[in-house]
């Protein structure tokens, strides 16, 4: 049974490491979006299957070395939650950067353009 525990440990570690890698190496544009959508789709399909065949969760849990199906769902939920948190914070950072750019452009556009002050200096 101990070898079974290793299986779930490997799965969970991969589940935590993949979002970490994605976080460090930001995938740009279409690929990142596609991966996100496929992941979401897969999660929904798994959810539907789990609803139709409740016993399946238990069977899968036993196969990978987890006691109950409910525990497996909890582990899955934790991974999804962490991945969601990381991708959301990455997204927020991008938005922050865009807001900075916008605010900067606006501030400079609204300010009087810089004319050198002449206080105490001879004008040329």
């Amino acid at each position: 049974m101990d070898t079974g525990k290793i299986v779930i440990q490997i799965i969970l570690i991969i589940g935590l490491a993949v979002p970490a890698v994605i976080l460090v190496l930001p995938t740009k544009g279409a690929r990142g979006l596609a991966i996100r959508r496929l992941t979401m789709l897969a999660a929904l399909v798994v959810g539907i299957i789990a609803v139709i065949f409740p016993s399946l969760a238990n069977a899968v849990a036993n196969a990978v070395g987890v006691g109950r199906g409910a525990d497996l769902l909890l582990y899955g939920l934790i991974i999804v939650f962490i991945g969601y948190g990381l991708s959301t914070s990455a997204h927020l950072r991008r938005v922050d950067r865009q807001i900075s750019e916008l605010t900067r452009e606006l501030a400079i556009a609204e300010a009087k353009p810089p004319a050198p002050s002449s206080t105490g200096v001879e004008e040329r």
């Binding site: 950072r93 009087k112 050198p116």
Partner: protein, 238 residues
């Protein structure tokens, strides 16, 4: 000669330096002191741009009253963002040859800034960074000294740039260097970011001993040590 000064000790810059230097002052809720700080520094450096970073206390009006150019962020973005905005603004003046970043709370001294610009003019350097630890004048507390020490070592390891003071806000740079540096860290990590870019852009840098005046006012507003945790996390989770 920069040694001369007017009636209350403001050092006099040569016309070339006075005309060619822009002070960039990030400004956030410093209304009680900003006017005096601006009036004082403008005796040496007439070109001052204050970037009001969404202050809620009339800082912008005080800065204007002191004679500064004021650029206003519609929302608070942080000191790094304010510096970048100020640099962009100052570089619109084709006569701007040197950019000095200067704090709004009166910690920095104009004579230090002037010496730094004079070095840029005389020596083949791109940027001169103030350091509190090249001589014994500045006396921060023990805890602060330890944190700043750790920051210096972290910086040496990550950027390869050897400085004695990792987070000094007083810097002078040439127009060219100012145009190449891109500050994207909005909050406090911009100091480290600038140093990282010194390494990446292979800018020629030097340190100049400066004296930071820890007044009660600046101490009450100053960076708490908790901020070093925030800076680290901002640097790691870019």
């Amino acid at each position: 000669m920069a040694a001369g000064g007017d009636f209350d000790g403001a050092p006099l810059a040569t016309p070339e330096i006075a005309r060619g230097t822009w002070l960039v002052v990030p400004l956030f809720n410093e209304a009680p002191v900003i006017r005096e700080v601006i009036e004082h520094t403008r005796r040496t450096f007439p070109n001052v741009v204050c970037v009001d970073d969404g202050s809620s206390d009339g800082s912008a009006d005080e800065a204007r009253a002191g004679g500064a150019h004021v650029v206003q962020h519609a929302v608070n973005l942080g000191q790094g963002a304010a510096l970048q905005t100020g640099i962009r603004y100052a570089l619109q003046d084709p006569g701007a040859r040197w950019i000095v970043t200067f704090d709004a709370d009166g910690q920095h001294r104009t004579e230090d800034a002037l010496r730094m610009v004079e070095r840029l003019r005389a020596e083949p350097l791109d940027i001169v960074i103030g350091s509190r630890f090249l001589d014994g004048r500045t006396k921060p507390g023990l805890a602060k000294r330890l944190v700043l020490r750790a920051a210096v070592i972290f910086q040496r390891v990550t950027s390869g740039v050897r400085l004695t003071d990792a987070h000094n806000g007083l810097r002078a740079m040439t127009r060219e260097a100012a145009g190449r540096i891109r500050i994207t860290q909005n909050r406090m990590a911009h100091a480290s970011e600038i140093v990282d870019q010194l390494g990446e852009l292979e800018l020629r840098y030097a340190e100049e001993p400066v004296h930071v005046i820890y007044t009660d006012y600046s101490r009450s507003k100053g960076q708490s040590l908790w901020n070093s945790v925030n800076i680290l996390s901002e640097l790691i989770f870019k």
